[in-house]
Symmetry: C2
Subunit: 154 residues, 2 copies
């Protein structure tokens, strides 16, 4: 199980963590550049959640780099348990943030036709930010599942 | 692992499945009784998702009853894999539905103060339905985690 894709201290894990950081950062950047996002709780929550995700993933990416450089093994039960809890908490928060923002943008786009009525309303930026958040979640979801099966096999 | 809480073919699993059916049904009932829910995509999606959840959980509850009556063992890898996939898909869909509806109700309540401005708008019913959906998700989430660890141990 130690050489499974996404297992801590491997190149695949480092790439996954880097992807999580990059997409979470991009999601924050796009949302923060959209005018008036701060008027909507869901969009503010998306930024907060993606910020937490980026911080967590950056920390684990650093740990992966350290493990790859020093060849130290990160597969002890205490460390893997910590990774599992952190990954699951951030994954659930990221998914909740992406879904609640998606609920709001679908309301604007399809239910009240806000985007069509007010072309200056930056709907496409909100949408892009939410898509990036879903991509981040797919990466953190993969990490969470790998960690959980790793913990079950230890 | 076969006697773990929530493992298929046990009383605890039957209670969990019954809880999922009951709360999903209650969530649908409360939402369907709230005037104007059909104007909002997120609320319609909540009903569809809770309907799927109730159907899936009812099917597995019947299987649990059958297993308890005939003492047949349900712990073979093919069946458990099927339960894992079904549980995870319905859990993710239920959570997405609950979160997107929560995003919309927070918008109505806190961002545009729709609930305060129009007291006839059935905000409290929408909220109750969403809370019931989250309770349903907590039950299906528990089942999913049990199934996943069961599959990893088979």
């Amino acid at each position: 199980m130690k050489d499974v894709v996404g297992s801590p201290g491997t190149w695949s894990s480092l790439i996954l963590r880097f992807g999580q950081c990059a997409f979470a950062g991009a999601s924050i950047g796009v949302m923060a550049s959209a005018l008036g996002f701060s008027s909507y709780t869901a969009f503010c929550y998306l930024i907060a959640s993606m910020g937490l995700q980026a911080l967590w993933s950056f920390g684990l990416a650093c740990l992966d780099v350290y493990s790859l450089k020093t060849k130290r093994d990160l597969h002890n039960p205490v460390l893997v348990s910590l990774f599992v809890v952190g990954d699951w908490v951030t994954a659930v928060l990221s998914f909740a943030a992406a879904c609640s923002s998606a609920g709001v943008i679908v309301l604007f786009e399809r239910d009240v036709h806000f985007c069509r009525m007010y072309p200056q309303f930056p709907c496409s930026r909100y949408e892009l930010s939410i898509v990036l958040a879903f991509i981040t979640w797919s990466f953190i979801g993969t990490s969470s599942l790998v960690m959980f099966s790793l913990l079950a096999s230890l």
